[in-house]
Symmetry: C2
Subunit: 222 residues, 2 copies
DNA sequence: CATGTTCTTAAACAAACGTTTGATTCAAGC
DNA sequence: GCTTGAATCAAACGTTTGTTTAAGAACATG
């Protein structure tokens, strides 16, 4: 391999593709370096460990997305006449950057699944790192949602934000699975339709009037 | 080990606890048999392979839940005056059986995380098995939702059912994580509150008026 | 009591894992 | 032209993986 082709990025490219296809534990450094067409030892030379590769791949995948989320939220708030955003606009800022990835060249579609997988991967060493990456996004969007949903108790708001993340994560996983979304060509029309459905759905949930269940149903759980 | 204590079930108990805590690939047969206090070879004697253990654990976990889902749907449909169920009732029948597990003795709380994990685990050999287990539930509930949501196109309904599953799966994962749900004691009040929030949220999404986004936002995705 | 089956056990198997080593190759600086 | 440092390479490190083996213990049935 020529020196000019950045080994580090070849490794990260392969890591994204393979991790998203087989999970972190399902990918060995040998299969990784074979896919990346680099030597086995070079991953330790450049990163130091497999954990570090996972973190680096995750960071390269999620950082631009979160940056765009914040930028989009800023832009929409600036465009709004009184600075007041509706729920659907906030959701659009939250969801659209990930869907933009799913739309792109089919090579980069694996980004989406990788991100979704890391939500559910039980790697202990990832949890603090993960929280760091999302702290600002969560804070900013919680504020935006609070403005868009006045009167909703904070605790309920946080629950609903978790539900929203659940919808997104699961959709991202499903997207990459067996293309059972529309009869679709898996291209931009697809991504737009899914995004629109998702925003509608979650907005409906966010706007629902909070309240308890009927006593009869509460009994049924006990 | 005495013969009376069923080795097979001890293995499945340990499998549930460990798989839900560390994922399938994160659990070796050695750690599994150590936790179960049985011999390493007995897992092959009783099950034949690790894959078979995973399937067996999954089946023992999910079958009673799905059975109860169908029974609850039957019961609610019978109780309803005209046989017509509201969205919230259908959602209750879908979600409450899993939440019932999350409430139970903290030992069996791991059930919930195991099920949630298997949604996102990329094991290829599980996918057809998984689909088999859920086929009838999905068919019955799609019909129930279709009756509760007349006029909603089938394609949109199926998308929204996927969203609903996403909410449930993600919530189940979060439940077992760091108990960041309420200041809570993790007991029945907790589970009831979460279930109520979930049903409200998803019902809001299911009932949302379908439609496209504004052209400006569609551009932003392209 | 002997027989046959079911189950458990310790030990070993080959393969794959993440990681480390030491030699080699290349490009740039003096 | 020699040196220096970064980067690559093949080979091996010691563990751990899922799986298999063969012998022994515990039970039921005759």
């Amino acid at each position: 391999m020529p020196r000019t082709a950045d080994t580090k990025e070849q490794i990260l490219d392969a890591a994204e593709a393979l991790f998203s296809a087989h999970g972190i534990e399902g990918v060995s450094l040998r299969s990784l370096t074979k896919e990346a067409k680099v030597n086995l030892a070079s991953v330790h030379y450049h990163f130091g460990s497999k954990e570090a590769v996972v973190k680096a791949a995750f960071a390269r995948c999620i950082r631009p997305v979160n940056r765009e989320r914040l930028a989009l939220l800023d832009q929409l708030e600036k465009e709004a006449a009184d600075g007041h955003l509706g729920v659907e606009a906030v959701l659009f800022a939250l969801f659209s950057p990930t869907m933009k990835l799913a739309r792109g060249s089919s090579e980069r579609q694996s980004f989406v699944r990788l991100c979704a997988r890391l939500y559910s991967e039980p790697a202990d060493y990832l949890e603090p790192f993960f929280e760091d990456e999302f702290r600002e996004v969560m804070k900013r969007f919680e504020a935006a949602f609070a403005r868009a949903l006045p009167g909703l108790p904070q605790h309920e708001l946080r629950s609903r934000m978790r539900f929203a993340v659940g919808v997104m994560a699961h959709t991202m996983l499903d997207c990459g699975r067996t293309h059972n979304w529309t009869a679709g060509k898996g291209d931009e029309t697809d991504a737009q339709a899914i995004l629109a459905s998702m925003v509608r759905f979650v907005a409906g949930g966010m706007l629902a009037r909070p309240g308890r269940m009927t006593p009869a149903r509460e009994e049924a759980v006990a």
